[in-house]
C-alpha cells in the first residue's frame, strides 16, 4: 500500500502544522520587535549625555531601581533597560503566552484538539511537539533580535560584545519561555485558554514584580530567587557575560513546566 500512498507520512506533523499555521503571527512579532529595537536603540548617542545623567540623578532612586535604569548611561545598560528588560520583554512574553495558551488550551476550546487526538497522534507526542513549536518560535525571535541589534549596534554606538549579546538573547528567550511554558502547563492541566493566559501572565508579572521589589530593599533580596526575570537579567549578562546558573534555571523550570503540560494532557479527558 505504501507505493500508492497519496500523502507522505512525514515526521512531526503537529510541530510542522503549528509552525506553518502560525507563520503570519511569527512574522508580525518579528516586525514588531524589530520596530521597537529600531525605535529605541539608535537614540542612545543622544541619550548618553551629561543632561541624561542629571535627569536620572533628579529622579527618585526607587524609580531608577524599579525600572532597572541604573546603568542606562552605558551601551549595554541602555540596551538592557530599554529593550531586553522592558518593551522587548513585554512583547516576547505576550507572544510566548499567546502561543503557549493556544497550543493546548486554545486548540481544545476550539474543538481542534479533539479531532487531532482522534487521529494517529498520542497525547505525549502532541504536547511535546507543541512545546517544541513554542521553543522554535521563541528561538526564531531570539535570532532575529540578535541580528537586528547587531545591525544597529555600530551606528547606535552601543559597544555591545557579540558573545554577551548571545548570552542576553538566550536569557531573554528563556524568560519568555518560562511564561509560555506556564501557559502550556495550565492548558495541559485544565484545557482552558483563559487559565493558560492567566498562568503565563501571572508568572511574568510576578517575576518582574519580585525583582523590582528586591531591587528596592536589601531585606527583601531573597525574593530574587523566585523571579525568572532576575534569573535572566539579574547578573547583567549584556555587560558581564552569560550567567550559566540563571540560564539553567530558566530552561530547567521551562522543561519542568513542559513535562507538567505533557503529563496533564496525557492523564485527563479532552473536552471541547
Amino acid at each position: 500500500m505504501s507505493g500508492a500512498a497519496g500523502v507522505r507520512q512525514a515526521p512531526l506533523p503537529i510541530l510542522r502544522r503549528a509552525l506553518t499555521d502560525g507563520w503570519r503571527g511569527l512574522l508580525g512579532w518579528t516586525v514588531g520587535l524589530a520596530g521597537v529595537a529600531l525605535l529605541y536603540l539608535p537614540l542612545f548617542p543622544s541619550m548618553a549625555s551629561p543632561e541624561l545623567t542629571d535627569v536620572l540623578d533628579a529622579l527618585p532612586p526607587a524609580l531608577i531601581e524599579t525600572l532597572g535604569y541604573r546603568d542606562i548611561g552605558t551601551g549595554p545598560g541602555y540596551t538592557q533597560a530599554t529593550f531586553f528588560g522592558l518593551i522587548g520583554f513585554v512583547l516576547l512574553t505576550i507572544a510566548s503566552i499567546g502561543w503557549g495558551a493556544a497550543l493546548i488550551g486554545g486548540a481544545e476550546e476550539s474543538g481542534r484538539l479533539e479531532l487531532t487526538l482522534a487521529h494517529g497522534v498520542g497525547r505525549v507526542s502532541y504536547a511535546v511537539q507543541s512545546a517544541a513549536a513554542l521553543v522554535l518560535k521563541l528561538a526564531w525571535l531570539g535570532v532575529a533580535a540578535w541580528l537586528i541589534i547587531r545591525a544597529i549596534e555600530g551606528p547606535a554606538q552601543l559597544g555591545l560584545d557579540a558573545g554577551n549579546l548571545w548570552a542576553t538573547v538566550a536569557a531573554w528567550v528563556g524568560a519568555g519561555l518560562v511564561s509560555g511554558a506556564a501557559a502550556l502547563a495550565a492548558g495541559g492541566l485544565t484545557g482552558s485558554r483563559a487559565w493558560s493566559v492567566g498562568a503565563g501572565a501571572g508568572v511574568a508579572v510576578a517575576g518582574y514584580t519580585l525583582q523590582a521589589v528586591a531591587n528596592n530593599s536589601a531585606d527583601l533580596d531573597v525574593l530574587r530567587r523566585f523571579s525568572p526575570f532576575d534569573w535572566a537579567f539579574g547578573s547583567a549578562p549584556l555587560a558581564n557575560g552569560a550567567d550559566v546558573g540563571g540560564l539553567g534555571l530558566l530552561f530547567g523550570v521551562s522543561a519542568v513546566l513542559i513535562a507538567v503540560a505533557t503529563l496533564g494532557l496525557a492523564r485527563r479527558d479532552v473536552l471541547g
Partner: protein, 315 residues
Amino acid sequence: MTSPAISTHALRKDYGRHIALHGLDLRVPRGSVYGLIGPNGAGKTTTLRMLLDIIRPTSGEITVLGENPRAGGAALRRRIGYVPGELRWGTRLRGEALLRHLAEISGPVRAGAIHELAERLDLDLTRPVRMLSKGNRQKLGLVQALMHEPDLLVLDEPTSGLDPLVQREFLALIREARERGQTVLLSSHVLSEIQQAADDVAVLAAGRVVAEGPVADLRLASVRRIHAMLAGSTADEVRSALQSTPGVESLEVADAPSGGLVRVSATSRGDIDPVLRVLTASTVRELTVEEPDLEESVLGLYEAEPQAPRRRGRP
C-alpha cells in the same frame, strides 16, 4: 474474524456527580452498520469519544478492533475514521491543505481519494476552511473520516447541516464502506437515516441502552396507529371489546355521521393480532394501519424507560 468491531461491558462515565453512562453494554459486529439513537444527553457522544480515547471511562471495559483504546493508542486510531459531533475548524488553511495535514496523522490515504470524496460530496477544497458554511464544514469532516478507508468509522451526527442530496450521497458512501468490509457506528437523531443505513440499532436514553436489535425488529415491537370503519356492531360493543384487548391505547370509538357505521381509531402497542380479531368480529368497511416510523417507537421506548416506577395506567 468473528470478534466484534466494538464491544463495551458495564461502561460507566461520571462527570463529577453527573452520571453520563450507567453501565453500557454494546456489541457492534464487524462489517455492519450500527446505529446509535437517543435524545440529547443520552450519552451517545460520550460513548463515541470513549472509543477514540478522547475521554476515558470511569469504569467498565471497551474493546475496539480487538484492542483497548488507551492501550491501542495512536496506531489503533489510524484504523478509525471519526466525525465529531461538533466540527469547528477555526483555521485559515484551505480545505485541501487541512486534509493533507489530517492525512499525515491518519492511516495511509490512497492517491486521489481526497479529491474523489470531495467531488462526490460537492465540496470545494480551494476555499479557506473558516469561510465554509456549516454544511461544507460537515462535508470536510466526512472526507477526513472516510479518506483513509479505515476499518471502523465512528460518526457522530454525520449528516447534520447537509442538504438532502448530499445526505443521499453520504448514505451511498456508507453502503460502499460496508461492502468493503468496513464497520460503521453511526449516531443520529435523524431516524430515517438510521432506518435507511443501519443493520442494527441501539437506543440510548439517560445513559442506558433501552433497546437494541435489528432495525426491522425494533419497528415490529412497537406502535401502530389504526383507523377503521365498521358495520354491523354498535359503538358500545366495539369499545368494550377493544378496551379489554391488551396493548390498545388512545382508543376513540364513535358513530359515524351517516350510514350506521362505527368509526374507530386507536394506537396498538405490541402484537396486532388480537386487535384485528376484535375488528373482524364486525364487518370491516375501511382499515388503515400506519406503520410506525422509528421515531414513534423510539419515543415509546423513552417513555417505557423505568426511571421511576410510574407507568401509564391502562384503562
